[in-house]
């Protein structure tokens, strides 16, 4: 980010605030571009992964090889689709809800280090910022469910409120473990720490358990796989975004894939050593190599999320709550305490 401001400063002889805003504009623009391209690729990838797991082909027609341009066609279709507004829905809330939902998750990407120098805002409380912004998205979903004046959407919104809020607690507790080991909230520090000490996952067994807990909690956070109750097709027709169509619906769709990306990225950065590789000194190499390594890990976790979605049935609302509070939370606390003891004694698990 500073390099960008510097570039604007001397190349275009622009004064301070204008350079700052220009730099931010380019960053946000490039991030938005990256996110939409990623979302289209992820949607196509999900349809192909689901298809091949179900002995069928998936999109084949649009574009040449294996229907690669299916997502672009869908996006264009959604652009031209009629944007319905239910008769006595609450117009204002109905209109704002998708925006809030998308911004909540998209803003989380601000504090994420993509490669050695590539980071929009090097926030010292990066992890804390991302978690709190993820909570904003819940407000948008409840607004959508309430505003669309349909009983099924209302049920979806109420389930969303119960599930996502209650799964942020185990997620936060599970994240305490890496923070405790590394000692800082800044995501850059995690990469640096893991460069010399090796991947955090191999640090002690409880970090592995907390990684699993965080992965499951983030699944529930972005309403995926066994926890996709707010948009349960077989019960609630399509949950909170039943009444949405056209571009508004695509915002919800985009949000789901971006939150998948954020949570996979967090798992990769915090537990599996961001852009570091055990044998290769990646930070010495040029920035794109780190970016490729990080994205490879992220897409592996996104694949695992998709794999889970097409294997497991859906949980019931009370089972989701029970699992959150009876299984994930207690084990989260156990991991935190145990890691604290391990750190104090300096025990290590593997000779790394």
């Amino acid at each position: 980010m500073e390099a960008l401001i510097g570039f604007f400063g001397d190349k275009l002889h622009v004064s301070g605030t204008l350079a700052l805003s220009l730099a931010y504009a380019t960053c946000i623009g490039s991030l938005l571009g990256f996110v939409t391209v990623y979302a289209m690729f992820a949607i196509w990838m999900e349809r192909k992964v689901a298809a091949h797991m179900q002995v069928r082909y998936g999109p084949m027609e649009t574009g040449g090889w294996h229907g690669w341009s299916q997502s672009i066609a869908d996006a264009v279709k959604l652009l031209f689709k009629e944007d319905l507004l239910p008769r006595d829905a609450n117009q204002v809330l109905f209109w704002i809800a998708p925006a809030i939902v998308f911004c909540g998750v998209f803003a989380g990407l601000v504090a994420v280090p993509f490669a050695v120098g590539v980071q929009i805002a090097d926030v010292h409380l990066g992890l804390f910022l991302i978690l709190s912004l993820a909570a904003v998205e819940v407000v948008g979903v409840i607004m959508a469910g309430w505003a669309s004046n349909s009983k099924y959407a209302l049920f979806g919104a109420v389930r969303e409120a119960a599930q996502v809020v209650s799964y942020e607690v185990p997620a936060a507790v599970a994240l305490l473990v890496p923070v405790l080991v590394v000692g800082s909230f800044r995501l850059g520090d995690f990469n640096a720490w893991q460069e010399e000490h090796g991947w955090l996952v191999f640090h002690n067994p409880f970090v592995v358990v907390s990684a699993l807990i965080f992965f499951i909690a983030s699944l529930a956070g972005c309403k995926r796989a066994p926890f996709d109750l707010p948009e349960a097709e077989s019960e609630l027709v399509s949950g909170f975004h039943t009444e949405y169509s056209g571009m508004r619906f695509s915002f919800f769709f985009l949000e789901e894939y971006v939150s998948m990306f954020v949570s996979s990225l967090l798992v990769a950065t915090l537990f599996f050593g961001g852009w570091t590789l055990p044998f290769l000194n990646v930070s010495a190499m040029p920035a794109p190599v780190g970016l490729v390594v990080l994205l490879a890990k992220t897409f592996f976790f996104i694949f695992v999320q998709m794999w889970l979605r097409w294997t497991l049935p859906r949980l019931r609302v009370d089972q989701v709550m029970a699992m959150g509070f009876k299984y994930l939370l207690p084990w989260g606390f156990v991991c935190v305490v145990a890691t604290a003891v391990f750190e104090a004694q300096g025990w290590r698990w593997l000779p790394v």
């Binding site: 091949h52 797991m53 002995v55 069928r56 082909y57 084949m60 794999w307 097409w310 294997t311 497991l312």
Partner: protein, 259 residues
Amino acid sequence: MGGIREYFGNISDALVTTVKGMAITGRHFTSEPPITVQYPRDRLAVPPSYRGVHILEQQKCIDCKLCAKACPVDCIEIEAVHHGRILEWQKFTIDYKKCIFCEFCIPPCPKDCIHMTAEYEMATAVNDTMIEDLLTWTGLRANDRREVEAGEAKKAGKPAPPAPEGVTPQPGGPAGGNAAPSGVVVTSAYAPGSPGAPGGLPRGPRKARDGSASPAAPAAPASAAAPAAPAAPAAPGGDLAARVAAIKAGLASKGKGPS
């Protein structure tokens, strides 16, 4: 104590069964090839015994209407004027909006002249086009017309009109190479031997037919729906005409007997 064991049992059970389930879908993702067929391009092979669109061998049909009576949904309508043994065909339509493809119309036919082909693609946008006419020709063919007039003349006592020289036996298919018949000679899509009948020549945009004996080779690409040969004896146009001629000869020889 049971609670604790059950608590840990749940955790291990959940993890083990999830992983086993993922193993199945993972194996399908990597090693099982997809089995779906991309429909308009590739089509599943349809067995010859498939019950699809009907086909009528009009020469053998004697307008007994048994098939129309046997139909549970009454979707067959037949109209023909009887001139003694000769039939002047108006229509033989099946309403495919009602037809349930139960093949009850096939067994009662005394002459065994209605069959079902393996053709199943009949989607159309307009309801009225679902009423399909199975006739190969309507009205009277030239040969039949002459016999009818000869009969009436004999009845009225006048001498029979002289037969034009060089009349060749009437091939079963569209009217032979003689004078343009008075009836509208039209070839139905699925009549035996006509292009487009399954197993027959590929169907394509139809050129106006003016009595030319051999069907002109249409330019449209080969897109015959049913690759498998249909059970119906709709052999390719060539040898069918020969077979029909043989039947005609047979009819002519025992024509004197009770028809």
